[in-house]
Symmetry: C3
Subunit: 172 residues, 3 copies
């Protein structure tokens, strides 16, 4: 959905190759001395493509880090889950897993399952496609995500899992 | 296309598991004191899977940052656009959106659309799949991308948008 | 496969929107003075969707960097290869390329190939979808990946290639 509070977009540029407008002058320059703050965030999931909105936790932990400008790396250890962003609303919580079911169906044939017989071959390939890692910038002490954009853990495994996300805040 | 200026590749290694060759000795080690330079880059798009090559802007803004070694995080706020790399040539500007149309068609059924009636369910799931964030290294004052590899914003939304990318250069 | 050495997961939370548990207190806070260590890692591949496990090299080069806490950015220059994580076992070495063949078949019609006639249009779109870049955290001198999660270069090109990955360790 497009519930953006921004002003309406300008008329579309002419061709497909229209160059972007020039960048603004730098908003922020550090005086050196960046810091690293590492944390873990435990998240219980149901598996099966469940998405968990971790944005409130990220905001809270950003505050506790004491950093105001920089970025946070979110990484999920394990090979059957992903981190991405989405507008976290009931419709898309169905639509995104539905896309993955179209392209990597649960009951397709996976060599992985023929060897290990745990029936989660689809979970592995979905996780590798979407990816385990995301970097999100923050400024002025808050995440620079869009208004309708949440950071989510998506658990593709075929059972409930307890995940322990790695968060690394780098900044000042 | 393979218009690489590098020498031809060595003969393929024997098995599928051939270990990579040992890494070279470190090329660069900082003496500490990394800096962060944050900027925004406004980009007007037409939506509909349009790709905009932002590499020239990145190179220009890298220069203005004063940093020579490090990396830049490119992040697009919003839930209907992505950042990735591609060989930016007319054929692939059609082929990449065509792949996404195959797997997440505009006129498939999306719960998102049934609720919000704005017809961009496909834009959201495509954006979540490709991802909103990319980290690109630089060295000696220039981006370490390949000769035929450009950094692009891809706008999946179903209307023209004005995006404001977040760029964060970290380095020295 | 789920050969996790962790304890069994807790009972699944009730609804789809169950908030994650609160984050642990920070595990690590730097006293400032982060360092950057940049390296390249040459990798020979056979192309055709071959995956190469670069985790042992990453671990070795992490050690040689002298850093113990931070993260490493892995970037592949070029527009026909990707970096991601997977459980590196024989079944999935077939299953992941098989997924990509389903959604971006070698013999589909690509405008790229009609222009350049090198038959690797599928390689380009697959590479853009999976992405050229990954950020992996480390702590206590070791990568914080899962036990069954390896970092892989996937080469989608239609011939053998010699890749030169960029590694950037940032930390202390």
């Amino acid at each position: 959905m497009n519930r953006s509070p921004e002003p309406p977009p300008p008329p579309p540029p002419g061709g497909g190759g229209t160059p972007p407008m020039p960048g603004r002058i730098p908003q922020h320059q550090s005086g050196g001395g960046l810091k690293l703050v590492s944390m873990t965030l435990p998240v219980g999931t149901e598996g099966g493509g469940q998405m968990v909105d971790i944005t409130p936790d990220l905001s809270r932990l950003l505050k506790s880090s004491g950093l105001h400008d920089g970025n946070v790396t979110i990484f999920v250890p394990g090979s059957t889950a992903s981190v991405t962003t989405i507008e976290f609303e009931p419709g898309l919580k169905v639509d995104f897993p539905a896309l993955m079911e179209r392209i990597a169906p649960v009951d397709a044939e996976y060599k992985h399952d023929q060897t290990w017989h745990d029936g989660n071959g689809h979970s592995h390939v979905r996780a590798s496609l979407v990816g385990p890692s995301l970097v999100v910038p923050f400024g002025g002490g808050r995440l620079l995500t869009g208004t309708w954009q949440q950071v989510v853990l998506v658990d593709w495994d075929n059972r409930a899992r307890r995940r322990e996300l790695i968060l690394q805040f780098i900044g000042e």
